[in-house]
């Protein structure tokens, strides 16, 4: 038995493994809470409770554990921090017939995620043309507040985006059919019903397909600095010094509006079905209720919207590579694409039985281990790639899912570094211009639409992504495959 931390009269945290901590059920908790972290992770969560903060992740982990139909445990990955209702880094799986679907478990940026593409180029081939490439990417990929894309859509066409996802973008000439094989759900999740999405949400999407957005969203050109698992790296087509392109963005205004719309629908549903609302954002409906089914259909639309968006941006990035370096678009292949704000219907083994579940991953990725049919054939023997973005100027990781993840986290893992400084603190401490200069000295070219945004996203405002990844690696949930360093960063 490991350490025990008594947080309040009822709330206790017990260390069960070197990197696993449990909150034994009390009060209305139906399952335990489980946190993947080291002592620092847990101390940080405890301090927030003891300081009486209005938003704290530990209470959110407990609240999720109280929801009807939750399976096994209310989970928090090592990048856990306060969210809305669910913590960021939170995973909650619910029995399809008896459980609930919650807006808080998906959030406002539905299917926000990462696409990584691989080139055949090595770092030394890019170095001399880095500035040109950065300029081409900055010109070609619309980013920042209020940016609009080249794809202008009618209402009917928006419905097609919501139904067909990345396929729609490919049909419009953005990318290749081969890309789809390497996107979760093949870039098109089933069960998307455009009628479940409001006219307002669709109106926000008219000119936003193929735009990056702002905040922590980015496009990076990276190089493979270190390979940890050569056999898996081989399966993923990775080699040392290789140039990769990673895109982090989501479902833009459409996803945000679905969140806003369904917050009200699900608040009413929580009252209708007598589900106590423990935090105002933690509203939900039984999955099989009319409200639950409709929300799931809307979430699927948001998921497809983000797929289409990343597919379009991926192709714009290819065009920039062609423009600046003469690389043919077909020589840049999709390595993989994953979402980290989703609720998905999946089958998992729970207590020896295969169960149909809805798995919420809020700021958490899917991390399926070897053998799952959902993973592309080329990767099925080693498990799916898990793409973890660092912060501007630090590093990113490619990991793979494990059998242990399937057994303990419903095949889920962390999504990023997690902040340690608020945006306001970061803006006070850093100046965007200084951050850009400092990164330039380290060989990283930053092109940003907002200097203030750069300050908010300064590397110093985040936890060390390497520490967070190591916790999950040591806990056996994922295994490290490769570490990537940025060369160029395009910010919204």
């Amino acid at each position: 038995m490991g350490k025990i931390i008594q947080v309040t009269d009822d709330l206790r945290i017990v260390q069960t493994e070197p990197y696993v901590w449990e909150i034994p059920p009390y009060g209305e908790m139906r399952v335990p809470g489980r946190i993947y972290g080291d002592r620092t992770t847990v101390d940080h969560l405890v301090e927030d409770v003891q300081a009486g903060k209005s938003w704290n992740a530990l209470v959110q982990i407990v609240n999720v554990a109280c929801l009807p139909g939750i399976q096994r445990a209310s989970l928090a990955m090592a990048d856990v921090h306060p969210g809305y209702g669910f913590p960021i880094g939170g995973v909650g799986a619910f029995d399809f017939d008896e459980g609930v679907i919650s807006m808080a478990g998906v959030g406002y940026d539905i299917n926000c995620g990462v696409r990584t593409m691989r080139t055949n180029l090595s770092r030394h081939e890019i170095e001399p043309k880095k500035e040109d490439l950065a300029n081409a990417l900055y010109r070609t990929v619309p980013a920042g507040l209020g940016s609009t894309g080249d794809i202008k859509l009618s209402v009917k066409e928006v419905d097609k985006v919501l139904e067909k996802g990345a396929e729609f973008a490919v049909e419009r000439g953005y990318g290749f059919p081969e890309d789809l094989e390497y996107v979760e759900e093949r870039g098109r999740i089933a069960g998307a019903d455009p009628d479940a999405v409001s006219k307002k949400a669709k109106e926000r999407e008219f000119n936003q397909v193929g735009t990056l957005g702002s905040g922590n969203h980015y496009l990076e050109v990276q190089w493979v600095e270190e390979i940890y698992a050569p056999d898996v790296a081989d399966a993923y087509g990775l080699f040392p010094d290789q140039i990769l392109i990673s895109i982090h963005c989501g479902s833009r205004g459409l996803g945000h509006q679905i969140g806003t719309d369904y917050l009200q629908v699900l608040e009413a549903a929580s009252r209708k079905y007598n589900i106590p609302i423990r935090e105002r954002e933690l509203v939900c409906a039984p999955i099989t209720s009319p409200e639950g089914r409709r929300y799931l259909a809307a979430v699927n639309c948001g998921i497809n919207c983000a797929f289409a968006n990343r597919q379009a941006i991926a192709h714009l990035a290819r065009l920039a590579f062609q423009d600046a370096l003469g690389v043919r678009p077909q020589d840049i292949a999709t390595l993989y694409e994953i979402g980290h704000n989703t609720a998905k219907v999946e089958e998992h083994e729970v207590d020896g039985q295969i169960k149909k579940l809805v798995v919420h991953r809020k700021g958490a990725t899917r991390a399926f281990g070897p053998g799952r049919q959902e993973v592309p054939a080329a990767y099925r023997d080693v498990g799916q790639p898990v793409l973890v973005g660092g912060t501007m100027g630090t590093c990113s990781f490619i990991l793979h899912g494990t059998k242990r993840a399937m057994e303990t986290t419903f095949g889920s893992a962390l999504h990023g570094a997690g902040r340690t400084l608020s945006r306001q603190q970061a803006k006070k401490r850093f100046w965007g211009g200084d951050v850009i200069t400092e990164l330039a000295q380290r060989g990283i070219v930053v092109r940003a639409h907002s200097k203030a945004g750069v300050a908010e996203e300064a590397p110093g405002a985040y936890k060390d992504v390497e520490e967070v990844v190591d916790i999950m690696h040591n806990a056996g949930i994922i295994r490290k495959v490769a570490r990537l360093r940025p060369l160029i960063c395009i910010k919204g």
Binding site: G83, G85, G146, G213, L263, R423, A452, E456
Partner: protein, 141 residues
Amino acid sequence: MAYEYLDHEADVGIRASGGTLEEAIAEGARAMFGVMTDLNRVGRSEEVPIHCQAGEPAALFVECLNEILFQRDVRHLLFADFQVTRLIHTDAGYELEGIAYGETLDATKHDLWTEVKAATYSGLIYEIKDGRHTLQCVLDV
């Protein structure tokens, strides 16, 4: 300025106050605009009517902010100011009419910062103390 920003790890907390609920809502809207851009550089040539309703004042505040964000996206505007022109308490709850003032977003003229995705119910507070109305919520950015 009758608003302030609160430390929040991932997003931005805002707290706004005024002598009336109407004033507090307007201050909250200005706080939200101030996350996205330098308000001194945004003109006020466009006036957009805002209409929303909710069961209680705190939810009305969130609704109002989200309605403004919707108008920002579909009209491609940046806003600098907001006024509540009518706020009534009905049997069904609260109803608000107001006007958001701004102009067409222009990347060459405006200093564009971080896009607010949504106003949320997280950390949502409405309180009246010594005649001051205060509203608080977290903005998802």
